[in-house]
Amino acid sequence: MEEREKKRSVVPFGPQHPVLPEPIHLDLVLEDEKVVDVIPSIGFIHRGLEDLVKKRDFNEYVYVAERTCGICSFGHGLGYVEAVEKCMNVEVPIRAKYLRTIWSEMSRIHSHLLWAGLMADAFGFENLFYQCWRLREKNLDLVEMTTGGRLIYSVNKVGGVLKDITPDMQKVILNNLSELEAELRDVYKTFMTDYSVQERTRGVGVLTKEQVHDLGCCGPYARASGVARDIRQLGYEAYGELDFEPVVSNDGDNYARCDVRLREVFQSIDLIRQAIAKIPNGELSVPVKGNPDGEAFIRIEQPRGEAIYYVEGNGTKFLNRFRLRTPTFANIPGMCETMKGCSYADIPLLVVTIDPCISCTER
């Protein structure tokens, strides 16, 4: 019997779609319900923030860098000031390094819980979505208490930090994190053992370790495929003084990505406890003289993965170039690969599992 020729159709997905908080467009090539190819398009909200560095004083630009995105805001500010500090050979006080580490981990908790809620929403588990975001609020309260902001922290400056975390605040942080940790155990258990969650996540969107390497993926997305790479192991800020190992899973599917990100929230709580236990007294910043000259690459582990910051100074107060390579930019090719061979109904979940941040990506 002659095999019936399968017709291909192209279905546009996004830029407006219920599962997408930010715009990305995918042309999905389908054979019946099966996706056989994906062509991604970005660029709906490109703002040219990198080029703005030529028109803003390098100290003022910290505030622009932080506003690249509302979720990874702290990390972008941190990456930028670290790059400028490396360029200018500025040694930041140790207390400032610990404070930056604490805020960095708070940012990770906030980002991962936000993602967990969106993931639960994407597979239709509304109650789980509410629980994740309720826990996120507890963390945001701590951010507000220590920085004055909930999403844009504005505490980084070239040479150190602008605010301190007092001993009283440290006690509140430890208490609230213990409560959050206890409640998060139930959420983690639901994600890992609930039948309906597993039905939508197990074996879906598998990415192998080799594919991760070839496609340049990073962060929890890569660690869920067995790649034990965490840029925090470089020991920047106070990470070199803290004890941790990369959180890794080997299955490479949606389930493994949930597992890695949620376990990383527990890891962040542990890192904050360690940092508070070891934080020394001292100055918050050092005076910075002169202008950046030369160039520097900096890598930091953002909640979504490895982010790369490059600055090129010219001896004036305006930088010649600032470059930001975001984790989502690196993970889009991997996301497209996981979609091939999947059912059309799985596409929203596969988009969410890279934890896409399009604001960062388009800068």
């Binding site: 660029g43 340049g216 070199g240 790369i308 090719p333």
Partner: protein, 161 residues
């Protein structure tokens, strides 16, 4: 203590003609393409291709310094994920990267301005350099290959109509 790595971070300037050879060497060493970007400095492009070793976290950057009208080959054959970076370099800075796959034809970012990160005087200089190349008839093999690819695309569209 968790700082188990003391990675080497290097920036190595190479000739543009040696780019593919060096990238192939990176690939054969198992390096991951971490990023690629362009910048404009002193009338020339500086193209940076950064590679990371996932075992040691070493970070090596290949730097190509080239004229504004120079043709740069795509490294897509070695790293399929290079496409986004290359499309971005061409769209924002006007770097003449050829045979990108997939080629977004300056539509990766939906922006009206043409090569917005390249200063106006550099755009004029780029046109001048291109005219000089055109008048001298020194079209490279890459130009011919790009022209063939464009022609193929155009004929495909005609057939669709």
């Amino acid at each position: 203590m968790s700082a188990k790595f003391t990675p080497k971070e290097t920036i190595r300037v190479i000739e543009k003609d040696g780019l593919l050879r060096e990238v192939m060497a990176m690939k054969s060493r198992g390096m991951r393409l971490s990023q690629a970007c362009a910048s404009y400095k002193d009338g020339k492009y500086e193209l940076s291709y950064s590679f990371s070793d996932d075992e040691t976290l070493d970070y090596e950057t290949l730097r190509v310094v080239c004229d504004l009208a120079d043709r740069i080959p795509s490294i897509h054959d070695f790293y399929s994920c290079a496409s986004f970076y290359e499309n971005e370099m061409r769209e924002l800075f006007g770097v003449k990267i050829e045979l990108i796959e997939p080629d977004y034809h300056n539509k990766l970012y939906r922006i009206k301005a043409e090569t917005p990160f390249l200063p106006e005087d550099a755009k004029a200089e780029q046109k001048k350099q291109e005219q000089e190349i055109s008048l001298s008839g020194a079209d490279s093999d890459l130009d011919l290959a790009q022209a063939a690819a464009d022609e193929k695309l155009a004929s495909g569209k005609k057939e669709e109509k």
